[in-house]
Structure formats: structure tokens, C-alpha cells
Symmetry: C2
Subunit: 271 residues, 2 copies
């Protein structure tokens, strides 16, 4: 899916919601465990219930990888089930050199048909560029994450005037363009999102950390939105585990619907 199509979907659905499919066998409703593929069955019902409100789905690859070959099958089936007008993100945080990155790219962009993959920047240009060689595919590069440990290295150098995350943004924005790169920018650092927006005015941000992690959607929109929205705000647990029994899909739909309404109001306010 290209940038134009993504922006069109955001306008159509009046939403910039990404639903994180962090599907965990120990957390899904018990009755699903009798299904042949409980992970896929859970995802299928979540997708059916939330597709009206979501412009993106983001399976967290670790949850599937942890289940071995069976997990990869569940992931494949899930990916094929997602409607084609919804953006897909492999949250894999890969990052390795040259031929190895190419293999990861092939795995997620060819063997599977994800629109995008999250990538870690530590190894530099030759760990990122191989992903950018796939027409119509996206790199979502870690910039400023929402976790406690983001302070350890991402803010390194700030005392001398420029934190590492700024260097990452400045350099990497030369490797691709707003047509094939996005950035992970955590919601837990409200005004920091504004700093990032100044450095990369046109790129989309994938924003985790709203909800369970304490980030505020209003602040994210206030500091992060650009004139084409430029945001995909992710919620995982807050949506997919909103209910815990037979009503789980309806509960997920309610939560996704609430977020869509808030997002619609913010789009009305800022765009």
C-alpha cells in the first residue's frame, strides 16, 4: 500500500488506529483453545470486529515466533485474512547487515506480503537500505520508543546538544523518503513528539504507548499530526483483551470504536 492510499483510508474511516495483534495463548478466551488454530481464530474474530475502525494491523512477530512453525502458520493465515485496504505492519524490529537484511526483507515482503516492517537502526545504513529496495514496501525505523529503557541510548548525546534519536532521524531520512519510511515514536513522551515532527515534518509516525503504557492520544495529535495526519497510533492490549470471554470480539469492537471517535474529533480539530 502506498502513501496516497494510506492517507485515503485515514480520511475515509476518519481514523488513524492501528490494532496490535499481540496474540497470546495464555490471554485469549479459554473457549478458543478448543479450536484447531486458536491464534488465528482469535485474530479472525478481532479483525472482523475492528476492521471498520482500523487503518492498520500490527502483528507482533515475537508472539508467533514463540510458538514455532505452528505460530508462523497462524501468522500467515492472519495476514491473508486482513482486508487488502488495511495497512499491515510486521513488528519484528529486525536489523542486520546486507545479505541478511535482504533475507529478512524477502521473508516479510515476499514469502509473506506485509506492507511494512519495523527495523532497528543500530547497525546503520547497510542494515536499513536492503528493506527499501522493495517497491511499495515500507521501513518503520525505531527512533524514540515508549519504553523506560529508551532513555539509555536514544537520548545519549543530548547533553552535548544532539541526542542519538535526532541523529538517527537526520541520517536515515536521507536513505529513504516519506513514501517508504516511517518512524516509531512513543506516545509516552508528549512534547518530544513535537521535536521529532520538526526534524521529519512529512514522515508518518507509528506511535505505540497510548493506553496501557500511559500515553495521551490528545498530546500525540497535538504535537505529532501533520497536514496529512502522519500518524498511526497503535493500541494492542487495550483493544484485543478488552473482554475475556465469549464477548471478547464485541468488547474489542467497542474499544476500537471509542478510539476511532476520539481520533475523528482530533482529525476534525487539526486537519
Amino acid at each position: 500500500m502506498n502513501r496516497k492510499q494510506l492517507i485515503k483510508e485515514i480520511q475515509k474511516k476518519r481514523s488513524f488506529l492501528c490494532v496490535g495483534l499481540d496474540t497470546d495463548l495464555s490471554k485469549i478466551p479459554g473457549h478458543l483453545l478448543r479450536e484447531k488454530d486458536p491464534v488465528f481464530e482469535f485474530n479472525r474474530q478481532i479483525i472482523d470486529a475492528t476492521a471498520d475502525y482500523a487503518v492498520a494491523y500490527k502483528p507482533n512477530i515475537a508472539f508467533y515466533e514463540a510458538l514455532g512453525p505452528k505460530g508462523w502458520e497462524s501468522l500467515n493465515k492472519t495476514l491473508e485474512y486482513i482486508p487488502k485496504d488495511i495497512f499491515t505492519i510486521a513488528d519484528a524490529k529486525r536489523g542486520d547487515i546486507g545479505n541478511t537484511s535482504s533475507l529478512y526483507a524477502k521473508a516479510f515482503f515476499e514469502s509473506m506480503d506485509f506492507d511494512s516492517i519495523t527495523v532497528a537502526p543500530y547497525m546503520g545504513v547497510d542494515s536499513v537500505k536492503p528493506f527499501l529496495e522493495f517497491e511499495g514496501k515500507w521501513v518503520i525505523l525505531l527512533a524514540l520508543t515508549s519504553n523506560e529503557g529508551s532513555k539509555d541510548f536514544q537520548l545519549f548525546g543530548a547533553a552535548n546538544g544532539k541526542p542519538l534519536f535526532q541523529e538517527v532521524l537526520e541520517k536515515s531520512s536521507q536513505w529513504g523518503s516519506p513514501e517508504n519510511m516511517m518512524y516509531v515514536v512513543g506516545a509516552t513522551r508528549g512534547e518530544k513528539i513535537g521535536e521529532v515532527r520538526k526534524i521529519v515534518p512529512d514522515h508518518f509516525f507509528l506511535v505505540p504507548g497510548v493506553g496501557a503504557q500511559g500515553g495521551s492520544l490528545e498530546e500525540v495529535a497535538k504535537y505529532g499530526m501533520n497536514r496529512e495526519c502522519g500518524l498511526l497510533v497503535n493500541s494492542s492490549r487495550g483493544i484485543i483483551y478488552a473482554g475475556s470471554d465469549h464477548n471478547f470480539a464485541q468488547a474489542a469492537r467497542n474499544e476500537a470504536g471509542k478510539l476511532q471517535q476520539e481520533m475523528e474529533a482530533l482529525l476534525d480539530m487539526y486537519l
Copy 2:
């Protein structure tokens, strides 16, 4: 495998050789493609041919992941085939937060039984610590890698007196100990290895970049060895693709043997 056992193996085999299993269907001898599981068959013969000389095997996870569920089966079979007195490294370069890191750790340390996994530091402490909670398992953290792009961010801050890789070493060495952490330090930066050794005198280094990438084994030993050796030097393509037909295993054995002899001489010289 614990540190004491690893050091004992190095002394016994007079070698600190790690063989990288970057097994690529397009590069293995054609006659193997008729086998039911060509990847495993190739690995099996490489392991049989090199186990006398190697103290570690390092499958590059991307090569297996790119093959889908079948690749994970080949990886599992390979891991089970590796003799128990040889250290195993999942070269996966994972790095994500809290519960996601725990899932990756479970995948590689429990579902599979790797001794260690390579991890990227960008997300900080809560992306690394979950891996350290597994008794007898190791994190091998990226510090200063051997690729061209390592300059992009790993040397960031050097102009102000401290490069990022130094901050990574100083902080992360507090999270674990030389008993459960190693560092990736590329061989292509000879004297830089000495700088790293000063910061973390006791940790093992996993050193890629010797051979195909141009690093010198003599320099690595000169600048990087400590009194317990403290090195695992990896060679992948130079060994496993030394031959290209029915003689491939013997050719791999010859190359591994040559490296072992060089390593034995260096151990004699420095230890």
C-alpha cells in the same frame, strides 16, 4: 553452557573458532537439493566435518526464517545435531521491550535450546534484561559491528569524547556479568578492539568480519585477547562455502583446520 565450560573447550581444542551456519539454498552444492531437507543435510555434513575444530556454531536466523516453517524445522534439527560440548549462538539480533523480549527469549532458550542469542541495544535496559533471566543462557549484545554502516550511529558522540558504543558497553556491562553477557565486536576495526577490551576486560567478544570481510585474526588476538582468551572468532562463508561440489565438507574441514592452527599459534603466543 557456562563460562567455565566454554573456556575449558577452548583450551581442549586449542581453538576459538565459531562456524557461522549461513546456509543458503542458492549456494549449497546442487546434489544436496535432492535431499528431503537440503539445509539440514548441508549443516549436518558441515558439523561432522568441522566439530573437531569449532568451539561454537552460529546459525544466522534470517537464512532459516526466509524459508518459512520448513526453515524453522531445519534450524531445530541442526541445533539438536550440534554436539552438546559446543556453544550455540542464535544470531537473531532481536531487541524489543519487556514481554516481547521474554517471548523471544523463550523461543530461543526454551522452545529451542540455544546457549545464547545476539541482541541489539537500541531500546535499552528493558529490551536486554529479559534475556538475562534465563539461568545458564547468554546475551551477546551488539557493540561495535564490522559493517560499513557501523559508523553511522555506533561512533556517534565520538567528537565529544565518547562514542555510543562506549556508552553501550559501560551501561550494559552493569546489567549482566561476564558470566552471561558477551559483545559483538567486529574484526574490521583492529585497534578499536583494544579500546573495547579496556572498557570490558573480562567479557567474551564474538568477532565477525575475519576472512570475507577483511579482518585480520592476528590483530584480533593482539588487541582483543584476555587471559582466558575471551574471543570467539566467527567465519561463515570462508568455511562453509570453501568447496562447491561433493567435496564441500572436506573443503570446509580444511579451512576450519587452517584457522584452528592459526588460533592455536596465537593462543600459544598470548596465553
